[in-house]
């Protein structure tokens, strides 16, 4: 019988991996923000670690969207062992989004699945910020018509007097099929038209940019007319508007406006000569401004008023600007309407009336859906919609009665979870004991709180965790604080500030810090950012005043239409010496088919390119997307603090007695290698349900010299990896997903071939089962005695159960088995037959409660 030995090195590695997984506590999807502008919805997915967008499929007209991502290095540490996530985002109705699922394989590939309640058409975008993914949805594909309802057969036997025979009921099929309401919006029925002379016109002033229209209500032998104001995407928003109308319209109520009513309203608004238009607009808008809808303005007068309105905006006389723009918009036609409508929104925004500003932008987009300035208006609206509609975040069970009567003061939501984590390395000799690498309880709490006001929006976020370690002589208990900040945004001045522990992903800030950041939108397309604080290496640590930074940046949006630019600078000090002096720039180009983002970060004190990065995706056609990226720069990021790498100290100042500042900077440079990496690949839809992804990547680090008692680090030589996988989705039912793939990794000393299969199968609506198996063969070729062969298998089973979209229980168990065989010529033999077998397993069991 072949003796089997446990590899101490293997145990160590496994324990380290488990420790990392347990100590980390990020969710793959950190947050999901939704906003909607007319028919365009935007989903911003904040990722828990850096991920690069590769491709997505299908591209159009499907109710599931698969986004393929490549995980960054920090993901392997940041994500817990499950590397899987499921979200039912609050506010999902704005995009008909039902849920977002994240699934990663054991390597660096992940799929984010967005499941919608109707077919959608969308674009996926990513900038140099690898922590953020944006999905923009256009109007959905036509929904599959619902089958006509079969008329129930009458049970005449149970009724004395028979109901009509079924042939007589054929005309009933002429009744329209009930829509599920995807196209429905909400309107406020202000009053019966007969009452229009008694309208409280002042109360309608804040709503002058809404659509006012008249609907006919046939009643017996006469038709009553109702004055309505629309449209609102949700009843909560309509409820807030209704609350603002207050006692002026005591008999007003919220009604559902179907697509037909919306179309009629649009016609009324466009048709200036129409009777309904005159009735609604004259009563509700022109009279509200106490400006008679006169015979029309001359072009000269329009130009003068436009100039006056803009001047009023510049000198912050917003009320005057609103009046002038509103009057100008009473002119039914003219080139001025485009600018007037947009700047009416700006004036409302500046005047602390975000709801009116939103309405103005929405109407603008309805009226001018295309054009070079459409993106700008969408961004204005998205910025408002993202922060303002508090009701969208309300839990489904929250009473709408309260929402419709009073706008909520605070909305609070979040989640709580606990996971038991265990990792064991099994003993293969009876003389040895199993080694428990980890046994810990990880408790997490995520809390979001927001309050939207007429002028100030306040938001705060806390992402807290506590790891209780049950292992004697283990790492000990750890308190974890990933985020803890409060945001304040002033709509009037366009200034916002964030205070606390945060992690911005742009503007040259390296990572998490405790401090303050702020921004000021100086012009509609120009925003200035500042930040200052104390860097924090890990959620486990507290910031110290030993290391601090300050920085500033400027963002220019939609320069030359589809280009965004940003520049930044960042000064960092550690223990009183210069740590970093960065200047950099970011650029992004986005179009329907091409998305390119680039970043340079140059350290002026070291005169070195710390990071140069460019990534791009090109959707050649609806079936084929290619992507490529290149990164060059320092690894790790060069700061003076790198001098402590390899030294028996934890802080830079501990080296002060032995080194001068110049020597420390030399040590830092010597510890920092130069990295060059690139990749290219393609994603193609073989069939609507089968996608192929293939890529090749390359990476190398140069050598670092010996100094300060730290050994030299040889250059790695090129590390090449290539492979691909097939992704099947929805073969048997919605939500079914499988990956089958192969990958070859090659370094100067080790070649590895891996095949993997990953299947995710929902069972019913609540249960999800995921199974995965990776099998690898590694050959190490640097031993003069011969090759070292190793087989590794990683099976995994994961079961999760959701209910009520709020509660989830997860169980995951996985193992790693490996058999390493050393060359027979190895003398002396490591073990009796020069073979080492090792088995480790892990499990986690936990729950998540969303509230």
């Amino acid at each position: 019988m072949r003796p089997r030995r446990r590899s101490p090195g293997g145990v160590t590695v496994f324990i380290v991996v488990l420790f990392a997984c347990g100590g980390a506590h990020a969710r793959a999807i950190d947050d999901v923000r939704l906003s909607r502008v007319a028919e365009e919805a935007t989903i911003e997915i904040e990722l828990g670690c850096a991920m690069r967008y590769d491709s997505h499929s299908p591209l159009d007209g499907n109710s599931e969207l698969y986004i393929r991502m490549t995980l960054g290095n920090d993901c392997h540490l940041a994500l817990r062992t499950g590397r899987s996530d499921l979200r039912h985002p609050a506010g999902g109705r704005m995009a008909s989004l039902a849920e977002i699922a994240f699934d990663a394989d054991q390597r660096d590939q992940a799929v984010i699945t967005l499941r919608f309640e109707r077919p959608v058409r969308g674009e996926v975008r990513q900038t140099t910020n690898l922590y953020l993914l944006t999905v923009v949805l256009g109007p959905g594909a036509p929904a599959t018509p619902q089958p006509a309802a079969p008329l129930p057969e009458p049970a005449r036997a149970t009724v004395a007097a028979a109901t009509p025979a079924s042939p007589r009921r054929e005309p009933m099929r002429l009744v329209r099929t009930l829509p599920y309401g995807d196209e429905d919006r909400f309107a406020i029925r202000l009053s019966a038209f007969e009452d229009s002379t008694d309208l409280d016109r002042e109360a309608l002033v804040p709503f002058s940019s809404q659509v006012f229209y008249v609907v006919d209500v046939p009643l017996g032998d006469h038709t009553m007319k109702e004055l309505r104001m629309g449209f609102f995407p949700t009843e909560e928003e309509a409820g807030r508007a209704l609350a603002r109308l207050g006692a002026s319209f005591p008999s007003a109520w919220i009604a559902v406006a179907d697509a037909g009513e919306q179309a009629e309203a649009a016609e009324q608004r466009i048709d200036a000569a129409g009777k309904a238009k005159e009735a609604a607009r004259d009563v509700a808008i022109a009279a509200a401004h106490e400006t008679p809808a006169d015979a029309g303005l001359s072009e000269e007068r329009i130009a003068t008023m436009m100039s006056e309105a803009k001047n009023a905006l510049v000198r912050r006389d917003y009320a005057r600007s609103i009046d002038l723009y509103s009057r100008l918009l009473q002119e039914p036609a003219g080139a001025h309407r485009r600018e007037a409508r947009e700047f009416l929104g700006v004036a409302f925004e500046k005047n602390g009336q975000p709801a009116n500003a939103r309405d103005a932008y929405e109407v603008w987009l309805d009226e001018f859906p295309d054009g070079p300035d459409a993106n700008r208006v969408r961004q204005r609206l998205a910025a408002l919609t993202t922060t303002a509609p508090a009701g969208e975040r309300k839990a489904p069970q929250t009473t709408l009665a309260a929402a419709s009567e009073d706008a909520p003061d605070w909305e609070i939501y979040g989640s709580a979870s606990q996971y038991y984590l265990r990792g064991v390395s099994l003993a293969h000799d009876s003389d040895d004991d199993d080694v428990v690498g980890q046994s810990a309880l990880l408790s997490r709490a995520l809390l979001f709180a927001r309050r939207s006001g007429e002028r100030f929006d306040v938001a705060s976020r806390a992402n807290l965790g506590y790891l209780h370690d049950f292992v004697e002589d283990g790492s000990g208990d750890q308190a974890l604080v990933s985020y803890a900040y409060i945001d304040v945004a002033d709509a009037k001045t366009d200034i916002s500030a964030r205070l606390g522990r945060q992690r911005p992903h742009a503007g040259g800030v390296l990572g998490r810090f405790d401090g303050v950041s702020g921004s000021y939108r100086w012009r509609p397309d120009l925003t200035v950012h500042v930040s200052a604080g104390f860097p924090v290496d890990s959620p486990r640590f507290r910031a110290t005043s030993d290391q601090w930074f300050y920085g500033a940046g400027i963002d220019l949006d939609n320069v030359f239409d589809a280009w965004d630019f940003g520049v930044f600078t960042n000064i960092q000090t550690v223990d009183g010496v210069a740590d970093r002096h960065a200047v950099g720039a970011e650029v992004q180009y986005h179009s329907q088919r091409v998305n390119v983002a680039g970043l340079v970060d140059y350290d002026a004190s070291y005169e070195i390119l710390n990071a140069g990065f460019i990534t791009g995706n090109w959707r050649i056609n609806d079936r084929l997307t290619v992507h490529g990226r290149y990164r060059g720069g320092a690894a790790p990021f060069l700061t003076t603090r790198n001098a402590i790498i390899g030294q028996p100290v934890n802080t830079l100042r501990e080296l002060f007695p032995d080194y001068t500042e110049g020597q420390l900077r030399s040590l830092a440079r010597n510890r920092t290698a130069e990295e060059r990496a690139g990749s290219a690949g393609l994603s193609t839809a073989l069939t609507p349900r089968l996608q192929l992804k293939a890529d090749v990547s390359w990476l190398e680090y140069n050598a670092t010299p010996a100094s300060g008692g730290v050994a030299a680090f040889p250059e790695t030589g090129p590390q090449v990896s290539w492979g691909g996988h097939l992704l099947g989705s929805g073969f048997f039912r919605a939500g079914h997903l499988f990956l089958v793939g192969y990958r070859h990794d090659e370094t100067e000393s080790v070649d590895t071939d891996t095949v993997f299969v990953d299947v995710r199968q929902p069972v019913g609506e609540r249960l999800r089962i995921q199974t995965r198996l990776d099998v690898s063969q590694r050959v190490a070729n640097q031993n003069p005695a011969g090759d070292i062969d190793q087989w590794i298998a990683n099976p995994m089973l994961r079961i999760s159960c959701d209910w009520a979209h709020r509660y989830r229980v997860e169980f995951e168990v996985g193992a790693q088995w490996s058999n390493r065989k050393f060359p027979a010529a190895l003398t002396p033999p490591l073990v009796e037959d020069n073979a080492i077998e090792q088995t480790d397993y892990y499990l986690q069991l936990g729950y998540i409660l969303d509230f």
């Binding site: 129930p152 007097a161 009509p164 009643l219 009604a255």
Partner: protein
């Protein structure tokens, strides 16, 4: 002087009447998960409206069951009025056809609210409300929760059903009061 047995009988009748009254006027909320993963919330009882057609027979009536429904699809809540049409009129004898209803008009304390009607989706069967008389058509109208709440709080509600010929038939509550909708989620 009353006997003890008489008191007990009177008390039993009174309690029974109270219980029946309570059951009749305060339906509870009922929710079920349909095959499509939607949660359908309704009340345990509908309002029964009747429209007398004395020209055909003394007791001839068309009936309309009406009740609020919430359909929750992955958190996306939509509200409807469900309408079940029934009749004790055998129109086959007279060669008559039931008209095609196109709208429900509720007179809420005298103010009309008009709801265009559509077919109740087939995949949402069974209907959300039980009916004692078999219905020959199941219809629905999108409504706002605000409207449901206002109707629930109204002191008087009458209904009209308009058909595709432009005619309308006024329905009155068959058994008295408008049923209490306070148990409907967020609506009462």
């Amino acid at each position: 002087m009353r006997t003890g047995r008489g008191n007990i009988r009177s008390m039993t009748i009174a309690i029974t009447a109270m219980l029946l009254s309570a059951c009749a006027t305060t339906p509870s909320s009922v929710s079920r998960l349909d095959a499509g993963g939607r949660t359908v919330v309704a009340l345990s009882d509908t309002i029964l409206l009747a429209h007398a057609v004395p020209a055909l027979a003394a007791g001839a009536r068309d009936y309309a069951y009406i009740g609020p429904v919430e359909i929750n699809r992955m958190g996306n809540r939509r509200h409807y009025f469900w309408l079940g049409l029934a009749s004790t009129i055998d129109r086959t004898r007279g060669g008559l056809e039931p008209a095609v209803p196109v709208a429900l008009v509720l007179l809420v304390d005298g103010t009309p609210m008009r709801f265009p009607l559509g077919e109740w989706p087939a995949d949402l069967d069974p209907p959300p409300y039980p009916t004692t008389i078999p219905v020959y058509a199941t219809l629905a109208a999108p409504a706002s929760l605000d409207q449901i709440r206002r109707i629930a709080r109204a002191s008087n509600v009458e209904a009209e059903i308009q058909d595709d010929s432009g005619a309308e038939a006024r329905y009155l509550t068959f058994n008295g009061d408008w049923t209490d909708w306070s148990a409907f989620p967020d609506g009462g």
